[in-house]
């Protein structure tokens, strides 16, 4: 299993623990991929998961650049067009996971952008 996949697994269990319902994982279309789509109450949450083994190149969440943010926005639009749902709010979250010393450190940034 790759680093990204294990990070996404950790992120899912973290979200479930916090009361989110996972709706979709690795939603793909020709624009790219959304790691996790979750839901809590009437809020739909699009999650980007970033996993790193060390902080040599900065915090994992620092890798979510403006370009990636814009891509996620477009992806979310395409998801909403193709999937009907009754959520009234939507939100973009970033889950930044550091796997240093085998013990995962998860930082959940709500409403990241």
């Amino acid at each position: 299993m790759s680093l990204g996949d294990s990070g996404e697994g950790l992120a899912c269990s973290h979200l479930r623990k916090k009361g989110y319902r996972i709706i979709d994982r690795n939603y793909r279309c020709r624009l790219g991929e959304i790691d996790i789509i979750a839901r809590k109450g009437d809020t739909l949450v699009f999650c980007e998961v970033k996993t790193r083994l060390n902080k040599e190149f900065g915090e994992p969440f620092e890798a979510v650049t403006l370009g990636k943010q814009n891509r996620l926005r477009r992806l979310a639009q395409s998801y909403l067009v193709s999937h009907s749902n009754d959520a009234s709010n939507l939100r973009f979250d970033v889950l930044s996971i550091l796997l240093a010393d085998g013990k995962p450190k998860i930082l959940h940034i709500e409403n990241a952008f």
Binding site: I109, A112, F113
Partner: protein, 524 residues
């Protein structure tokens, strides 16, 4: 978390109080500055980020929003670096916010966290005083000038670390207290000059004319062949000018503070400025300009002397833009972004040759210019411009006897004392005016004879019957214009003041008429 720091921005000769609000909220790391910031402020993000981390504080990896209120005025300059950095540190609880409310903060940051000198600190210190702040935290390089603001506590800082320690009350910085005007006035020393009027041989006529000009604040035009001493005379003009009073000195210092031209560790410019721009100067360089208009040479010469050597060599438009400030004593520069007014109450001293080759009318060398060339050259000095110059003097070549003569003339100090006394007479005379006009619009009081308007002329320049007859006669015979009439009156008022006479006598009028040589004849 939110932090609010008070800072300021210089807008012309006024300072604008600016609230720097820093909000830090969860989210991906971004750093936004809103509130119409210009490029230097946008770049301050990088300086603040590096300054904070290089001072070994933590730069938050969160969403940082900085607002510069009021949001509708464009702000410029790097002076917001320090308040933004302090705001970020307060919003992340690295500084306690208890003390910062009492101070106004400004300064530029370097990447190492050092605090650098800014321009316009004097204006911002005045602004902080008006805003009832206890003191200002500013770069150490600006401390001396801010000390002009009476009763203001001045905290000079050199690094961001010092600011943090001071605000956390872990380290005390001994504050400078703004001194009172009286203390400054008493520390006013007579400026030392390297030149002296006694070094100029001969040219007694010109020296006398410059003395009159200095006494009344009159503009002067000197005409003569090369090497006759025009430049030498002009360079010595500051040595006979009356000393600045404290209000004037503060105005001059403000202009230099805005221009960022205040020498380090200088709190007050006590010598009258002498500016001698080269004749290739652009219009904007002369009157001020730029996207955010900066003061030009005429404002830097405020309350002092603007010396324009080789007067006709200046661009024609540059000479024409001088006309309005010469009349008004200030200049309003309007650009797309803003419109600012700077003071420009200067005495113009101009020097020129009488023709392109320089020898027209010379006693020794013959002029080789064609008539057309001469007319073109002299035509550059337009009538309206000439009208604004009270005193015209011809500086002839020195004769061999005068050159070799070893006797020296009067020293600058002796001349200056007479000038000072004449100014004293003028101040007493115009004191009543100032008191009356104060309640009306912010019109400037009159400090010297050159600033008199025609209604003042009627009031202060009454002539005795023989003097009036003489003047009428002269106007008729010499063909003086109506404008020249006013100029003669003003100059004769100054000559009478120099002589300590309340009444303008015939001899005063006679001398004043001599200083209108360009009205009496065309050059050619």
């Amino acid at each position: 978390m939110l932090a609010r720091i008070e800072s300021g921005s210089a807008l012309g000769m006024e300072a604008l109080k600016v609230e720097v609000e820093v909000d830090i909220s969860p989210g991906l790391p971004t750093f936004n500055i809103v509130g119409l910031p210009d490029t230097a402020i946008q770049e301050s993000k990088e300086r603040v980020r590096a300054g904070i981390s290089n001072s070994e504080y933590k730069f938050p990896l969160r969403r940082i929003t900085v607002n510069l209120a009021p949001a509708d005025v464009r702000k410029e300059g790097p002076a917001f670096d320090l308040p933004i950095a302090v705001g970020v540190l307060i919003a992340t609880n690295q500084i306690s916010s208890t003390r910062v409310n009492q101070y106004s903060v400004f300064g530029e940051l370097s990447l190492t966290g050092e605090v650098r000198r800014i321009s316009g600190a004097l204006l911002m210190a005045f602004c902080a005083k008006e805003g009832d702040k206890k003191g200002v935290i500013l770069p150490a390089g600006n401390a001396a000038e801010a000390a002009l603001v009476e009763g203001l506590e001045i905290i000079p800082v050199t690094t961001l670390r010092e600011v943090v320690d001071f605000l956390n009350e872990t380290k005390s910085i001994s504050p400078l207290t703004g001194k009172s005007r009286k203390e400054f006035a008493s520390s006013f020393a007579l400026s030392e000059y390297e030149v002296d009027f006694s070094e100029v041989k001969g040219q007694d006529h010109a020296k006398r004319a410059l003395e009159v000009a200095a006494a009344g604040g009159h503009n002067v035009l000197m005409i003569g062949p090369p090497g006759s001493g025009k430049t030498m005379l002009a360079k010595r003009m500051p040595t006979i000018l009356p000393t600045l009073n404290i209000e004037e000195a503060i105005e001059v210092t403000k202009v230099y503070s805005v221009a960022g031209m205040l020498p380090p560790d200088t709190s007050l410019i006590s010598a009258r400025p002498f500016r001698a721009p080269h004749h290739t100067i652009s219009n904007a360089g002369l009157v001020g300009g730029g996207q955010y208009p900066r003061p030009g040479e005429i404002s830097l010469a405020h309350n002092g002397i603007l010396f324009l050597d080789e007067f006709p060599e200046f661009q024609k438009s540059a000479l024409q833009v001088l006309r309005q400030p010469l009349e008004d004593g200030h200049v309003t520069i309007s650009r797309a972004l803003t419109s600012l007014t700077y003071p420009a109450q200067f005495t113009l001293v101009a020097a020129m040759n009488s023709c392109p080759c320089g020898y027209l009318g010379d006693s020794v060398k013959e002029c080789v210019c064609t008539l057309g060339k001469i007319q073109q050259y002299q035509g550059k000095i337009s009538g309206p411009l000439l009208d604004r110059i009270d005193i015209h003097i011809e500086i002839p070549r020195l004769t061999k006897d005068e050159l070799t003569r070893s006797a020296f003339g009067e020293t600058s100090n002796i001349i200056r004392e007479r000038v000072q006394q004449a100014r004293e007479h003028q101040r007493e005379r115009f004191a009543c005016l100032q008191a009356r006009t104060k309640s009306k619009q912010p019109r400037r009081g009159i400090s010297c004879n050159a600033l008199m308007r025609s209604r003042h002329l009627r009031k202060f320049c009454e002539l005795s019957d023989p003097a009036l007859r003489f003047l009428e006669n002269a106007i008729e015979k010499l063909g003086l214009s109506a404008r020249a009439y006013d100029r003669v009156l003003k100059v004769s008022r100054t000559i009478a003041d120099l002589a300590g006479s309340e009444e303008i006598k015939l001899e005063h009028i006679a001398e004043a008429i001599q200083y209108r040589s360009l009205d009496r004849r065309s050059f050619v």
